[in-house]
């Protein structure tokens, strides 16, 4: 343990990481449970046909949730690479400095 502002800075970086992680989790939950609620309560809406009756709203939205899942992980990875990792590296360098 080093100087106090190091600890304060670490706490700030950790809080930010949890905020980002929990916010993205909330986005995933909204997408997924939104889809489930639509399927459960809006069967007719989900079954509405589009594109000359060749696809339904439900299939489009289901496929969207499947695509959104990896996209969100990439959003997180991008944020972590750009913002989180440098902050952690700086803190680590400080804690290793004599």
């Amino acid at each position: 343990m080093l100087v106090t502002d190091d600890t304060v800075e670490l706490a700030r970086v950790i809080r930010r990481r949890w905020r980002v992680g929990l916010a993205l989790t909330a986005v995933m939950m909204i997408a997924y449970f939104g889809f489930i609620l639509l399927v459960a309560f809006g069967k007719d809406t989900a079954g509405t046909l589009l594109a000359d009756g060749r696809i339904s709203v439900g299939i489009v939205l289901g496929a969207c949730v499947i695509v959104v899942a990896p996209l969100l992980t990439m959003v997180y990875a991008r944020w972590a690479n750009r913002r989180h990792d440098p902050a952690i590296a700086a803190l680590r360098a400080k804690s290793e400095a004599p």
Partner: protein, 507 residues
């Protein structure tokens, strides 16, 4: 369906020979417990991404979801989506801190600043319960599928699966298991994608043309929600168990210890999520393709559950040769999943129970490795025995039960131990015990077990999956018990734990 014997057996033997060769190579590299349980932390992000996908994509999700889509259309998609959405949660919340704080099991993380013994016992109990139910479901499915595809007797099939898996895990540990999972994931994704391309080739390479053909044959209902989601509460309850259960599956969490650092863990789970997402999109095409090109009547005549939809489709589009390849891939798929499960069960027994409870954390390397191998043999025998015991039973609910326990016993304790300073030993133990027990009790009283399996007239609890009750309950118990039993040492230890969780073990 024609007998796929010749080609299928040739493909399968090829897979087994290659993987046994890898096991021989892995066995010479497996000298320490860290190599046995975590492949020495030497797996790359892409390799672990494929291995995670191989650990997770079971024969049930390949054959089962293709079958469900083939026989009931849109409803199959609801399952696919549910199986995928837990992966982003692992990425955002769990993977990196887990990698930095733990060694072999998720209990390492929960117990880090709490009292080792009670936490390890509770975590090992929930891990072994999850692993056992998941194993039973896999083994019973394996026996029936192999019987259907290769014409082998059920018991012979179980002994082959259990025996080959035992060789991988016993001698090659995590290194061999990782490579079996990587090869299986590549074969499964290649096979399924090739099959989907062959399907789409019949429909101008346009999924919409395929859906239209299915609509012409079976009506517009094929693209609308059907019977699966009769009860909205039920759908949400299952959704909660799938989403958070994924982030509490011991054999998945264990894989994050095989990579060198947290950044690699993060990258590997992003790869895995993409691969698994692709797989479910492809499976949806396969299901629709099978319903149009094979026909629902033919599919359900061979297996009422529709499990043979994908193999039958392979036969129609690629002849016996392709059928044989797909059958062998399904076999390989089962082996890879069962190996991962067994290894995580062995880690709970050798590391959590023997290493930390019996030996109090002071254990010789050689002894731990020996205990790990004995545990592996024991679990393999248990898997074969339970597979035989549950022959002919409907075990589909057991995967749902495993997810429910993982979501309620493991996920809340894991998340709170990373996030909440005032989390205590008593809170953790109470939460894990409540999650496991409430899941077991509510499933026993559910329509699936109380009514269908035990033959009672009415279920006592109307929910098939108890996630909507057990997950919030486990969080509430964890929080209330922690607040009622303050543990100053655990709160003090939180700073050091946090430092290590985010800066890495070196800091």
């Amino acid at each position: 369906m024609s007998e796929p014997s010749g080609v299928a057996v040739a493909w399968f033997l090829g897979f087994v020979l290659v993987t046994l060769g890898i096991t021989y190579w892995a066995a010479r590299k497996t000298r320490s417990t860290r190599e046995y349980f975590a492949a020495g932390g030497s797996i790359s992000a892409l390799q672990n991404g494929f291995a995670l996908a191989g650990d997770y994509m079971s024969a049930a999700s390949f054959l089962g979801i293709a079958g469900l889509v083939a026989t009931s259309g849109f409803d199959g998609l609801i399952y696919s989506v549910g199986w995928l959405v837990g992966w982003p949660v692992i990425t955002f919340l769990i993977a990196e801190p887990l990698r930095n704080l733990g060694k072999y099991t998720f209990a390492d993380v929960v117990a880090y600043r709490l009292r080792q013994r009670p936490v390890r016992i509770a975590a090992a109990a929930s891990t072994l319960t999850v692993v056992t139910f998941y194993l039973i479901a896999q083994m019973v499915g394996a026996g029936s599928l192999i019987k259907l595809m290769f014409g082998l007797s059920y018991n012979v099939a179980l002994v082959i699966v259990g025996g080959v898996m035992l060789i991988y895990v016993l001698f090659g540990g995590m290194i061999a298991t990782t490579w079996v999972q990587i090869i299986k994931a590549i074969l499964l994704l290649l096979g399924a994608t090739l099959l989907a391309v062959l399907v789409l080739a019949k429909f101008d390479m346009n999924p919409l043309t395929l859906f239209a053909a299915a609509r012409d044959q079976y009506g517009a209902g094929v693209m609308a929600p059907g019977k699966l989601v009769a009860n909205p509460l039920e759908a949400i309850s299952l959704g909660i168990a799938l989403m958070f259960g994924c982030a509490g599956l011991p054999h998945i969490l264990m894989r994050f210890y095989t990579v060198p650092d947290a950044k690699t863990a993060r990258r590997s789970v992003a790869y895995a999520t993409s691969l698994i997402g692709l797989f479910y999109l492809v499976t949806f095409i396969l299901g629709f393709g099978a319903s149009v090109l094979v026909g629902r009547k033919v599919i359900t005549a061979i297996d009422p559950g529709g499990n043979m939809a994908a193999p039958l489709l392979a036969e129609v589009l690629g002849g016996t040769g392709f059928l044989g390849f797909i059958a062998a891939v399904a076999f390989a798929t089962i082996l890879a999943v069962v190996a991962g499960l067994t290894l995580s069960g062995a880690a709970a027994l050798a590391h959590d129970l023997w290493g930390h409870v019996v030996r109090d954390g002071k254990i010789e390397e050689a002894e731990q490795l020996k205990v790990a191998r004995v545990a592996t043999v024991g679990l393999a025998v248990l898997a074969i025995g339970l597979g035989m015991l549950f022959h002919g039973q409907n075990v589909a609910f057991m995967v749902g039960l495993a997810f429910s326990i993982a979501a309620s016993a493991n996920f809340p304790a894991l998340l709170l131990s990373m996030l909440w300073r005032r989390f205590t030993t008593r809170g953790a133990v109470a939460s894990m015990v409540t999650g496991t027990a409430s899941s077991l009790i509510l499933i026993t009283l559910s329509p699936t077990v109380w009514k269908d399996l035990l033959g009672n007239a009415e279920a006592i609890v109307p929910l098939k999956n108890p996630g909507i009750i057990t997950v919030p309950l486990a969080f509430i118990v964890a929080i209330v018990v922690s607040l009622l039993s303050p543990e100053p040492d655990a709160a003090t230890g939180f700073d050091a734990a946090q430092r290590r969780m985010h800066l890495g073990p070196e800091a």
